[in-house]
Subunit: 204 residues, 4 copies
C-alpha cells in the first residue's frame, strides 16, 4: 500500500476549454459516486462518464481522493453559503424565529443533493475528505454565537453543551428526514415538533 496520494489540484486551468473539462469531471465524479459508491468508483469510470480521456483527468486531479475532495468542497461550499447568509439576518431575532430558520436552512442544505450527501457521508474521513465534518463544526459555532447573543432568557447553564445538543439534534433530524422520511417534508409536522423540542429545552 502506498502512502496517501497527493490531493491538491495539479494544475490551474488557464483557458476556458480546460475550465469546462474540470467542471465536466467534477460533475461526472458526482454521478459515478452516487451510482457506484466510493470504493467502486474509479478514475477510469469517472473519465468515461465525463467524456474525457483518463490523461485529461490526471492533468487536473492527481488521484481519486482529489476528485472526491473537489466535489466535496463544492458541495460543502453550497451548504455553508446557506448558513452564513442566514446567520447575518438572524442576529437579535426572537428565539423561535431563529430556531425555525436554522432548521429550515439545514433541511434545505441536505436537500441540495440528498443522494450525494449520503454517499459523501460514507467516504473515508481522510485528509481533505474531512471537509464534510467541518460544516457541522461551523454550524455548531454559529448556534453557539447566536445563543450567546440571544436577548431572551435561556435555561441551560452551559451554553456550549446546549449548542452542541441543539445543533446535533437539528443535524440528525434534517439528515434523517431528507434521506429516510422525505414524506415528512410536505406537512410541517416534523419541523414543528423539532422546533418545539428545542424551544422547550432552551427556554426557562
Amino acid at each position: 500500500m502506498a502512502a496517501r496520494p497527493r490531493t491538491t489540484a495539479r494544475k490551474k486551468p488557464a483557458q476556458k476549454r480546460s475550465h469546462e473539462t474540470v467542471d465536466a469531471i467534477v460533475e461526472a465524479t458526482a454521478r459515478v459516486l452516487k451510482r457506484d459508491g466510493y470504493d467502486r468508483m474509479s478514475t477510469n469510470r469517472v473519465a468515461l462518464a465525463a467524456g474525457v480521456s483518463i490523461g485529461s483527468l490526471y492533468q487536473y486531479f492527481p488521484s481519486k481522493e482529489a476528485l472526491v475532495a473537489a466535489l466535496m468542497e463544492r458541495h460543502v461550499e453550497q451548504m455553508r453559503a446557506l448558513f452564513e447568509e442566514e446567520a447575518q439576518r438572524l442576529a437579535g431575532a426572537p428565539l423561535e424565529v431563529a430556531v425555525r430558520a436554522i432548521i429550515m436552512r439545514t433541511i434545505e442544505a441536505h436537500e441540495i443533493d440528498p443522494e450525494l450527501h449520503r454517499v459523501l457521508d460514507q467516504v473515508p474521513r481522510v485528509g481533505r475528505l474531512q471537509k464534510l465534518d467541518e460544516v457541522q463544526d461551523r454550524g455548531r459555532a454559529l448556534v453557539l454565537q447566536f445563543l450567546r447573543g440571544c436577548c431572551e432568557p435561556l435555561r441551560p447553564r452551559n451554553l456550549e453543551i446546549a449548542a452542541d445538543l441543539t445543533s446535533s439534534v437539528i443535524e440528525v433530524v434534517s439528515h434523517e428526514t431528507v434521506l429516510r422520511h422525505p414524506e415528512h417534508l410536505r406537512d410541517g409536522v416534523l419541523v414543528d415538533e423539532t422546533v418545539d423540542l428545542i424551544l422547550r429545552y432552551l427556554k426557562t
Copy 2:
C-alpha cells in the same frame, strides 16, 4: 466488477478447531479494518493477520464482504443484546428512569468498540452490510413500544414521530459523545442534559 459475490458463510464450522479459526479470522478482520479502512483492507492481509492461509479463509468466508458482514453482525449483536435485555426490565418503569436507562445503554453500546464502530459506519451500505442500520430501527421500535405502554401522560400526539425524534436524539448524542467528546463521559452533565431535553419534550 462482477455481479455481487455471495456473502453467506460457505460452510458451518463443525469442529472446535474450525471454530477457533473462524474467530481468529473475524478478529483479524476487525484489526485490519480499523488499521487500514474498508477499501485498503484486503483478504490477503486479513489472512496474514489471522495467521491463516488465504485458502483457509475462503473456506469459511466466500468474499471480502462476507468477512465484514460477519464482523458487523457480531458487533451489532453485542449492541443489540444490551437493549433487548434492558427492554424487558423497563416495561412499566417511570419515564425518567426509562429514558436515562436507554441513553446509558446506547452510550455503552457505542463504547463497546468505538474505533470499530466508526469504521463500520463508513463501510458501503450494500447487501448484508446494511445490518448496522437495523440496530437503529430496532432501537426506534423499542422506544415506540415503550412510549405506547407508558403509564405517564405524554404531550406529543403522534407517538411515532416522538419515538423517531427521541431515538434519533439519543443515537446522535451517544455517537458524538463517544467518538468526538469522550471527555464528557466522566461527568454526567451531558447525560443529564439529554435526559432533561427529552423529558421536557415528552412530558405534558
Copy 3:
C-alpha cells in the same frame, strides 16, 4: 515520478512449483532485455515471455528493477565464480602463467552471455543494479593481491596503480574482443599481444 521502488524479492518460493516459476521469470527477463533493451522492457512483456501471469510475476518481483537485479546478480555470480576458483590455483604461479590465465578467465566470463552482458552494461546504475561494477572491483582486488604476493620482481613502484591499469586493460580487451571482434577469439593473437603488453609493463 515515484520514489525508487523496492527491489528485494517479495517472497521466497516455498514449493518446487514456484521455484520453477521464478526461474522462468528470470530467464524471460534475460530474453526480453536482450531483445528490447532496458527501457523498452516491461513487466508485462516479461510475464508474457515467461508464460506466467503478471500477478505471479509480482508475487516474486516487486518491480521491473527487481527483475533486472535478480538477473544481474545471477550473471555476476557466474562471472565471479570463474575468478574466485582460479584465484586459488594462481597463488605463487609464474607471472606469465597468471596473467594469461586471468585474461582467459575474463574472456570466458564475457563469453557466458555476451548479448546479456552488453545490455546489462547499459542498465542505469541505480540501487542494486550497481552489482555489475562490483565484479570489476573484485577483479581489481584479486589482481592486486596476486601482484603483492608475486615472487618475481616487478617494475612498477605503486602496485595499486599497476593493478588498476592491469585489470582495466584486461577488462576492456575482453569486453571489446567478445562484443566487437569475436573473430579474434579463434587465433590467439590478441590474447598473446595482451599478455605481452601487460608483461612488458610489469616486468623489470
Copy 4:
C-alpha cells in the same frame, strides 16, 4: 510500441530567436538527463526546464530520441574537435610526444562534462544514439594512421591490433580516471604510467 519515431530535426531554425530556443532545449535536455537518467527523463520535463511549451519543443524535435541525439551529437562534436585538431599537429612527432598528447586529449575530452558523458553512455544504443561509439572508432582510426606514418621502429607486427589495443587502453584509462578516480588527475602519475605502458608495448 510503435515503429521507431523520426529523429531528424523537424525544421531548421531560421531566425535568431529560434536558434536560442533550440539551444535552450538542448541545454535543458542535458540538465534533465543528468538529473533523472534517460528513462525518467520526459519531454514535458525538458520543455518545462527549458521554459518553453511542449508544443514548441516538438516544433524543433520530433521525438524524445531526437532530443537526446542532438545533445549527444553536440557533445560528440566537442570531443572529436579536440582530436582532429591535435591529429594535424602530431604528424611526424616523436612517439612519446604523440602518445602523451593523445592521452591528454582523451582525458580532456572526458572532462568536458563527465556527468553528461556517464549518462550518455547509459542511453540505449539505438538509431542516431550510436554516435557515441563512433568517437572511439574515429580515435582508433587516428591512432592507426599515426602508427602507420610513424618514423620510429615499432615492435608489433600487426598495426591494426596494436592500434586497437592502444586506443582501447587510452580510452578505458581516461574513462576510469575521470569518472572514478578524479583524484589521480592532479598528480601526473597515472598518465606517466599509461604512457610508459604503451611505449613499452610499441617500441622495439
